[in-house]
Subunit: 478 residues, 2 copies
């Protein structure tokens, strides 16, 4: 598989094209120092074999912001060095921190915007980014990634909604590019041009008057001219359409742009892959071979392989899929696709992030704050009688499925077969029932359920049940 071809990213070589994008964990405390839980989270990804692990955003400044990692002072280097050391001792995975500056938010819903920064504050941000990346180098990271996506400072300057009217302003593309350009120049000077430096940007903002791929192609071109080591493409996640919950600070992932950034189960697979491919094509046309990473529901192994094989992207970012199962890379490499604990895009992880709680996957065993260790010796869950395990009835335009507990199972994967796509996992649950609200009357649906151990060890699939959903009265007979 092309997904397992190594890739040189500046001075660093990753062993495969699989990236864990930055995901908030809330595993540290308000002091922003790496904890044992933080280390355990990233060591787990390393054990699973991801080529590139991006550590959750760490702040270059000291503004209060809950349990968020910091790299704003030399005192943080020690903890970060322990993190990189432990990851490097585990596998060949490369580890890179995401470096962030964010503007202020208040519980009233107020937020600081790009136009409220003085030129002196901008100069300070430029210097702080350089200092932070130098600390990342000293802490043993393999590179650094600047967070210029979503709702944060660098992205707010890049935005088509940038309200400034000076030389950093939204009136011109060059004005919007000036801050990230100066930051990169400062980082290169302080941390060394040989230190791998990636930048994450939005391929589209997905907000009213926001930028689209028309601009992101040019933004990426400028980043390539600046010699960045890779460009990682995300989408949305903006304050502009965030819904304010009274008494809470704005959460930039609960509007439509948030739906695009962390797409739930009703959004299509690989929803931004074609936009990323457009950026890649544009760069190649302009003679730039900088690696491009994409993300957005790319956890189906065949999708990930296809994108890399056809050259649409160079690196596949899989956030929630690898949260659910950090062993996705080794399982895919070994062809053990049926042993993957597949993300069902329920977005419990997103809800935990939005309420500042420790981010876990709902598919992990109850009470765990880390993914269970893979253990091939775990016995496959077994139904007393697999062939009589699943029953289904059609009721009021729904299909209701139920099945008995299978000893040893913590997860039940629900599959629906609809020709010609073959069986698709449509949900993964810990209970023993499921309701399908998305059926068309007048059609037959086939379902089966597969019990899984927490480690992904699959049991025998249930019987396949066929449900004939009655046609609505208004539909003419076929």
């Amino acid at each position: 598989m092309k997904l397992f071809d190594p890739l040189k990213i500046g001075a660093m070589t990753i062993q495969n094209r699989i990236m864990v994008p930055a995901m908030v964990t809330h595993l540290c405390k308000e002091d922003g120092i790496v904890t044992q839980d933080t280390i355990d989270r990233y060591v787990r990804y390393a054990a699973g074999g991801a080529g590139l692990i991006i550590v959750e955003a760490m702040a270059i400044h000291q503004v209060k912001s809950g349990p968020l990692l910091r790299i704003s002072d030399d005192k943080y280097i020690q903890g970060l060095r322990e993190l990189t050391h432990r990851v490097h001792a585990t596998s060949d995975s490369k580890i890179v921190p995401q470096i962030i500056h964010f503007l202020k938010v208040a519980r009233t819903g107020w937020r600081q915007t790009a136009d409220m920064l003085s030129l002196e504050e901008i100069d300070q941000i430029v210097e702080q980014f350089g200092d932070a990346v130098l600390r990342a180098r000293e802490a043993g990271f393999d590179g650094a990634e600047l967070h210029s996506a979503h709702a944060y400072t660098l992205s707010s300057f890049l935005s088509r909604a940038n309200p400034r009217t000076d030389e950093y302003g939204g009136q011109t593309l060059e004005g919007r590019l000036r801050l990230i350009g100066r930051v990169i120049e400062n980082v290169r000077r302080k941390a060394g041009a040989d230190f791998p430096l990636g930048v994450r940007i939005n391929v589209e903002e997905f907000i009213k008057d926001g930028y689209t791929v028309v601009d992101s192609k040019l933004i990426a071109e400028r980043l390539a001219e600046l010699g960045v080591s890779y460009i990682s493409l995300s989408a949305g996640g903006k304050f502009e359409d965030a819904v304010h919950t009274p008494g809470q600070v704005l959460y930039p992932y609960n509007g439509y742009s948030g739906d695009r950034c962390m797409p739930g189960d009703w959004l299509p697979r690989g929803l931004h892959a074609s936009l990323a491919a457009e950026v890649k094509t544009h760069l190649l046309t302009k003679g730039h071979r900088v690696p491009i990473a994409a993300a957005g529901k790319l956890d189906a192994p065949q999708d990930a392989e296809r994108l890399v094989a056809e050259g649409s992207v160079d690196i596949v970012g899989i956030a929630r899929g690898l949260l659910a199962d950090p062993d996705w890379p080794i399982k895919v490499k070994r062809g053990e696709l049926d042993r993957i604990v597949q993300c069902d895009y329920c977005n419990v992880c997103k809800a935990l992030d939005g309420t500042h709680r420790t981010v876990i996957c709902a598919l992990w065993p109850q009470g765990s704050i880390q993914a269970p260790k893979d253990d091939p010796s775990v016995q496959a869950p077994q139904w007393a009688d697999a062939e009589k395990s699943l029953t289904a009835i059609s009721k009021e335009s729904r299909v209701e499925l139920k099945w008995p507990k299978a000893p040893g199972a913590t997860i039940y994967q629900v599959y629906r077969t609809s020709e010609p796509d073959g069986p698709q996992m449509i949900d993964a649950v810990k209970v023993t029932f499921w309701v399908d609200n998305a059926v068309l009357g007048g059609h037959k649906y086939r379902y089966f359920v597969r019990p899984c151990a927490a480690t992904g060890t699959p049991g025998q699939r249930s019987n396949t049940t066929i449900v004939d959903v009655p046609a609505p009265a208004y539909l003419p007979p076929r």
Copy 2:
């Protein structure tokens, strides 16, 4: 060109694949009766040769709503018959009205939502749609189109955000489909199953928690099962993200979903074509050959031809492009591409709609409420010295262009050449200057300007000017 292959749509055959989608004109009065101006608008499209003309939405009910056509009573038939008669007397174009029901809105920002309708009111809507389509048949239309897209009643029921909890509710796909299903059944019974009936839906809603192509594939499948004659795909245009202007009723096209529905110049060409192609593929897989129309910045002739030729869609909807130049079809057919008055997506038409004023194109001659008649005898505009007409300077990360007036020109088309795409028209203006805010420093840009008569007769292009935009200080020398 495949674009000019005829297509059978039920009992009607269109002479080419070019459709004028429904566009509000505000050319009638509050009484909702067809005026001479209304007739002139549609006769102009017929003269231009569009295969299928969809007349702006006409209401099946009597709720007050400004200058909007009505089909809610037999008294409207006479005016509509005059309209169809005049269009049919002009060319082979087929003419189909868009039939609409909408919920109430108030200047306070309040709006009626789907869950406020009683079952009796729903039954009445079902009957009103049937009565309206029968009237359309009696008025001599070639078919009818149900408006089940954007912010209106049928779409609000189809929506994933449908808040009802009864059998018309958003809990199940079948619940969301029930109203449109019943409407179609009623229309077929009252107006005849042989009367061509199209339905326009959103391919995606582009709002928080809204539906995506995952659902629109199934919605289209149901419409195909109901035997509709064509399915027209639009996008967005929802109340949910509309921005309320104090004292005005909500306008469902001024949020992000409105950006998607009537995309401005910063959104990419053909931005929903791949989603439409997904729906088409799904239907073919399920054995449904119902024609699919798509829309969204499809006015580049090569894009329109490619989509039809590759079978991605059957009909290409071009709204603003045909508003700018109703002769687009005959000019493309004759290969007179340089005579097209190209839409520049300035969205003055959208702003006029949003403020309830007569919708015109900003490229038409000052004061016109209709597109000028084509007249090949119009003299080409001429500069005194075309080779010395255009000057350009780079200033503060912008490029400023200016040129003298060319006698006979009403429009100046500004072209930028950036390898390898070839020259692209980047704007069309009536003034004699233009500023390019979207340049990258460190690059050379080439521009030329072409003067056009109001009818599209092009003058000689200006000299091509090359502008070297200085690189920003932070960019390393190449």
